[in-house]
């Protein structure tokens, strides 16, 4: 054994498995640091995270499998997780369990042990288990399960060294595991018969024992494999046998929980009566039938208020910085051709700078959302909103995707991956752009601040949020009935224990979203600002109304006029397609104004009614370029982004027309 440890550097392939919310990502982050590669599993919208870590001459290549509750064929995540273990055969599978919810968590462990012997258990959240009155004895549990069990508190980085040690021991074969056998009771004879029938068959390298088990469970993927691998006659014999055992799935699930109960009886003690925890006390209030919703609203109003309060001075600071940079560039590059200087100081810098000044808003908003997520409140928010979400044919989980969209629609649409049902996902993607993102709210806030005095402006902003929410419900209702009819997907969601948020998790959560936003700024928005600059600068020497951009604006005038817009506003909306915040920059260019003076110029050129119509239209009119791109990639077709663009244009146009015409009839404009 000693000699083996000194052997030359060896690669150990590690897969990390676990339920959602068990601290798997925390452990993955600790193990791999920032040496991570994040992408998608081929052909699936399931996140694939890979990383590596060096220790004592070993290179651990870690694959973070998607968080799943089981290994059936019912979701893409579960198929990805089990296929990786079955077909890629990692040297070690680390199953992370939440010690405070150990019984339920063990269900995944049993299923993993059905796939492979080379398992190490990371028993995380030992502190929370203590809070619940559980006394867990890791050594006894290890004895009972037959694989290494490492107690951990990942949030405090406790137990990670021991976990690494166990991974290396099992990965190198220094330590052999002998998992406690699972007895499938009444199903054993059938399983034995199935294994006999499968003997000698080519099963794509998969273990016959596991295939037999999955046949008994009625697994669709395994049925497909049967059709590929087995002769018709064998298949018919198998099906005849299975028809006699319709209770197969129930017997298997029963056997697994019986195994779990045996193991836990040996490895832990539970209080006779469940302890009333901190979580119970909070849940008593936040999931209250009457108090739940007001509390939720209160929390989110606070989050949005704080976000804008804290980020506003930072954004102004960045704005001022970019204005200076722009002026400095104009001076410093004076010797270069004038078109080049103009491209930089009038196009690229204000364009990209304008977008980057949203960075504080996005940073702070995601920090708060991450805080709510990490503490465990988000699951309660889904519970509280489930009834409301039913109005548009969605369930509570979809609320979370819509919430993220208040920061930016791009992560909002990506968050729809948590919805298991394809139809639900499409619907949540389609209504997502109706949620006003931080960029659109910033444009709205600018206009509302410019045209309405203080107490009134809050009311107007509030109504805008309410209007968008109303549209979400309305469009969701219509789409559900007309475009995507069908049965509602079941709502089943775990409510984790509350816990103190973890700084590292928050940093990673916020960090990835910032990177995504910066990428957008560096690519789409940079290109768009150059394009807008070109359109507004050529033909060379022409006045603005005569440039390409100006001509486009005039072309749109017949439509714009119905809503009280002049050509500049139409152009601003046009450029807003690249990125919503660009509208403001365009208006500044078109009105030849900067900062405070833009407010004055706008006041001279439009009434508050027209300003309001403009804000409503820009809030709803079309998903931005980046959103369209992510819709395309998440739905794998151009159909749905086009549907979203069409309905939102109609909706925005209709509402704009209505508000303007009614307002004017009432003598407001």
């Amino acid at each position: 054994m000693e000699r083996e440890a000194k052997a030359p550097p060896k690669v150990i392939r590690v897969a990390l498995a676990g339920n959602p919310n068990v601290g798997k990502s925390t452990i993955f982050n600790i193990l791999t640091g920032l040496h991570q590669h994040v992408g998608n599993w081929p052909g699936k919208t399931v996140e694939r995270k890979e990383g590596a870590c060096r220790l004592e001459g070993y290179l651990l290549q870690c694959m973070d499998l998607p968080g799943t509750y089981s290994l059936t064929a019912h979701s893409a995540e579960e198929i990805v997780a089990r296929d990786y273990v079955l077909r890629e055969r990692p040297d070690v599978v680390v199953v992370i369990l939440d010690a405070s919810n150990i019984e339920r968590n063990c269900y995944l462990l049993v299923q993993m042990l059905e796939l492979t012997d080379r398992v190490v258990v990371g028993l995380n959240m030992m502190d929370l288990a203590g809070v619940k009155g559980y006394r867990i004895f890791p050594e006894k549990l290890e004895q009972a399960v037959g694989v290494p069990v490492v107690p951990m508190v990942a949030r405090k980085a406790q137990g990670c060294q021991a976990l690494l040690k166990a991974i290396i021991e099992v990965g190198t074969g220094q330590r052999t595991t002998s998992p406690r056998p699972i007895h499938y009771g009444a199903a054993e004879p059938t399983l034995a018969r199935l294994k006999e029938m499968l003997e000698g068959e080519q099963l794509e390298g998969l273990p016959a024992h596991w295939i037999a088990l999955k046949m008994l469970e009625g697994d669709e993927e395994v049925e497909r494999l049967e059709e590929r691998a087995l002769a018709r006659e064998t298949r018919e014999r198998i099906h005849a046998l299975l028809r006699q055992h319709e209770h197969g799935p129930a017997v298997v699930a029963d056997a697994r929980y019986a195994w779990i109960e045996e193991v836990l009886a040996e490895g832990m003690e539970r209080p006779a009566r469940s302890v009333i925890t901190f979580t119970d006390r909070i849940d008593h209030v936040v999931t209250h039938r009457f108090l739940g919703l007001p509390i939720l609203l209160g929390i989110f109003v606070c989050v949005f208020w704080l976000t804008f309060k804290v980020s506003a001075p930072l954004s102004h600071l960045m704005d001022a910085g970019f204005a200076r940079l722009s002026a400095w560039t104009a001076g410093a590059f004076a010797s270069y051709p004038s078109w080049f200087v103009s491209l930089l100081s009038d196009g690229v810098i204000p364009g990209v700078g304008g977008v980057l000044s949203f960075l504080p808003i996005i940073l702070i908003l995601f920090l708060f959302l991450g805080l709510l997520e990490d503490s465990g409140y988000m699951a309660r928010a889904a519970f509280v909103t489930d009834r409301i979400m039913h109005a548009m044919g969605l369930h509570g989980k979809a609320f979370l995707c819509l919430l993220v969209a208040y920061g930016c629609n791009v992560p909002g649409i990506m968050a729809t991956r948590i919805l298991e049902n394809e139809r639900d996902r499409l619907l949540a993607i389609l209504i997502n752009p109706l949620i006003p993102c931080a960029a659109r709210i910033a444009v709205a806030a600018f206009f509302v601040g410019a045209f309405f005095p203080s107490p009134q402006s809050t009311l107007v902003m509030g109504s805008l949020y309410a209007l968008s929410l109303l549209m979400v419900v309305f469009v969701g209702f219509v789409l559900r009935r007309v475009v995507l009819p069908g049965e509602e997907a079941p709502f089943m969601m775990e409510l984790p224990l509350y816990r103190a948020p973890n700084a590292r998790n928050l940093a990673v959560y916020t960090g990835w979203r910032l990177v995504a936003f910066l990428k957008k700024a560096a690519t789409v928005i940079l290109a768009a600002s150059v394009l807008i600059w070109v359109l507004s600068s050529f033909p060379a020497g022409a006045d603005l109304p005569d440039t390409y951009l100006g001509r486009l604006g005039f072309l749109l005038q017949p439509v714009g006029r119905l809503m009280g817009f002049d050509w500049r506003m139409s152009v601003a909306l046009l450029t807003g397609f690249a990125a919503k915040e660009t509208s403001l920059a365009t208006l500044a260019v078109l009105y030849h104004a900067e900062g405070e003076s833009l407010v004055q110029t706008l006041h001279q050129s439009m009434t508050p009614l027209v300003a309001l119509v403009f804000v409503v239209v820009q809030l709803l009119y079309i998903p931005c370029l980046a959103t369209v791109a992510v819709m395309r990639s998440e739905t794998n077709s151009w159909k749905w982004p086009l549907v979203a663009m069409a309905y939102s244009l109609l909706l925005a146009g209709g509402l704009g027309l209505l508000i303007f015409q009614v307002g004017r009839a009432l003598g407001l404009g």
């Binding site: 059936t72 405070s100 919810n101 775990e494 409510l495």
Partner: protein, 89 residues
């Protein structure tokens, strides 16, 4: 699986908060049953209702964890209530 209704079994949604019960049967759908099993609920499991407001989703505790279930899903779970004395029931 055939659902054999016992005379005193009832739907989970008709339980009041705080009430304990044993799951008797789960109605409709192989996939639904497998998902519930993964979340800890199979026939025979003891559950406690934590929240049931008469409308909207319910919260139940099962195997030491808590779950939010849509009302439609909860209605498909047949249970037999147990009084707190006769837990062996």
């Amino acid at each position: 699986m055939a659902v054999v209704k016992k005379p005193d079994s009832m739907s989970l949604v008709s339980l009041a908060p705080g009430q304990r019960a044993r799951v008797e049967a789960i109605c409709c759908g192989h996939g639904f049953r497998m998902r519930l099993a993964a979340l800890g609920i199979i026939p025979g499991t003891l559950i406690t209702v934590l929240r049931n407001a008469g409308a909207g989703p319910v919260i139940v505790e099962a195997r030491g964890g808590r779950l939010a279930l849509g009302r439609g899903q909860a209605a498909r779970i047949e249970v037999q209530p147990i009084s707190s004395e006769g837990e062996g029931g």
